[in-house]
């Protein structure tokens, strides 16, 4: 098995102060209170937290500032924020309110130079490339934006090379086809992907702890995002860690 430690990252999608869950990035359903959920996951041993503002892209603005301010008073682990980040001042605002990393999709696709601008100021370790990949045809995945609504025609591996060259410090890769489906991680996507030089976080489809073992025993992945499984209380972080330890996965 790989020597990197696997991070378990609860992903919380937030809309109008509610914790929501989608299926294939669509059909948002309210599943709880994001503050209570985040605090619970922290106390249960989460390695990081990922917060996404689900409507930010629509309004060109991230609304999670106040939420970040209050949750980071209570949790002392890294926090990544995504949704609607378009400018250096958007980024600065979120870092000021408590973000440790920011993840960007749409604005990077629109203007890849924005990646370098951000990493020159904030350091590449705090700039995350958020990538949404969609299966197009045999041996071709493309990236999409606007929560899966917009096709870009850009092939996945070439886009990931650009992200790395321009200076992201991490990639969070979401399989749009598997997201919210409880089918396990998209292993075909994992095998299609070239090995990344920066840490890679897989997102979409987690349904049971075995999924992590399947993924990291074959592919060079540093962490996984988990949402549905935790939000619907089908299991907990500590259960996954117990499974991981029993199966010799490197975890905190």
């Amino acid at each position: 098995l790989l020597r990197t430690n696997i991070r378990l990252i609860p992903r919380l999608d937030i809309k109008s102060k509610k914790l929501i869950k989608s299926i294939k990035l669509e059909g948002l359903r309210v599943v709880g209170d994001p503050f209570k959920a985040a605090l619970k996951y922290y106390e249960n041993g989460a390695d990081e937290l990922f917060f996404h503002d689900s409507v930010a892209s629509l309004y060109n603005q991230n609304h999670l500032g106040d939420f970040l301010e209050s949750i980071t008073d209570k949790v002392f682990i890294p926090v990544t924020v995504s949704g609607g980040i378009r400018t250096v001042s958007d980024a600065k605002y979120l870092f000021k309110r408590g973000a440790d990393k920011i993840a960007v999709n749409t604005a990077f696709v629109a203007r890849p130079k924005f990646i370098t601008e951000l990493s020159n100021i904030f350091g590449s370790q705090s700039i995350v490339g958020s990538v949404e990949a969609k299966f197009i045809t045999k041996n071709r995945w493309e990236i999409v934006t606007e929560s899966g609504r917009e096709r870009t025609g850009i092939e996945l591996n070439s886009w990931i090379s650009i992200l790395q060259e321009m200076g992201v410090g991490e990639i969070v890769l979401t399989s749009v086809d598997y997201e919210g489906t409880r089918k396990g991680f998209d292993l075909k996507l994992a095998s299609y992907l070239n090995i990344t030089s920066v840490p890679l976080i897989f997102c979409g489809g987690f349904t049971e702890p075995e999924n992590i073992l399947e993924l990291v025993s074959k592919y060079n992945v540093q962490g996984v995002c988990i949402s549905d499984y935790l939000h619907y209380e089908r299991g907990s972080i500590s259960e996954i860690k117990k499974f991981g330890k029993n199966n010799f996965l490197n975890m905190r």
Binding site: R3, F122, T196
Partner: protein, 212 residues
């Protein structure tokens, strides 16, 4: 109440170190100018931003000399991640740069400098164990380190420090079979390559040990 000066690099990054300091019962003070350091008991150089951006900002605000003077006066200073790297002579994130020079040595890009085994990723990002080398077993600081020595700390960095004096290295991270400096200590200067403010309860214990 113990007052802790947190150095401002202008990248808007002090919030989380502020929260961590408050949570252990101390008072954080944002240090924008050298005069702000006068009323502090400790100084922390936080760990976010790029080397060149931070140096540029410190020179502009005059804190560059202010920090050096405070360190030479014996004030206890903790550098976290980038803060640790700034203690040394040179750093080359985004071009060649001159650091504070409080410690002899370099800041280097890990991917070029280290001989990692295959499969490594840079930045080093995640929770890793630190191998501690503490010799003065009597102090409160070393007692705390011993009590947390089996726990993981959170790392997020692409650059690392190479001190000229090996004896100042008090903690090492073994990453893909290559040793990375995780912590240094020399007199009143302490440095952590990991983020204590982001390493849960264990990280807060480390901070508390520094601030006592």
């Amino acid at each position: 109440m113990i007052k802790v000066g947190v150095i401002d690099y202008g990248a808007g990054n002090q919030k989380n170190i502020f929260r961590a300091i408050k949570s252990i019962g101390c008072e954080p003070i944002l240090a924008k100018k050298t005069v702000d350091l006068k009323r502090t008991d400790f100084i922390i150089l936080p760990g976010m931003g790029s080397f060149s951006h931070a140096v540029m900002h410190l020179k502009k605000s005059g804190l560059f000399e202010g920090i050096i003077d405070a360190a030479n006066d014996g004030k206890k200073i903790l550098g976290i991640c980038l803060g640790l790297q700034l203690f040394f002579e040179n750093g080359d994130e985004s071009g060649a740069n001159v650091g504070l020079g409080l410690l002899k040595g370099q800041t280097v890009p890990l991917a070029d400098y280290c001989d990692f085994e295959n499969g490594y990723k840079i930045p080093i990002m995640g929770w890793y164990n630190v191998q501690w080398k503490i010799t003065d077993n009597g102090s409160e600081f070393s007692k705390t380190i011993n009590s947390i020595s089996r726990e993981s700390m959170y790392f997020a960095h692409s650059y690392g420090v190479v001190p000229n004096d090996k004896y100042i290295e008090i903690g090492v991270l073994n990453y893909f079979n290559s040793p990375i400096v995780a912590a240094i200590k020399k007199k009143n200067i302490l440095g952590a390559q990991f983020h204590p403010e982001k390493s849960g309860i264990v990280g807060l214990k480390f901070l508390k040990a520094f601030l006592s």
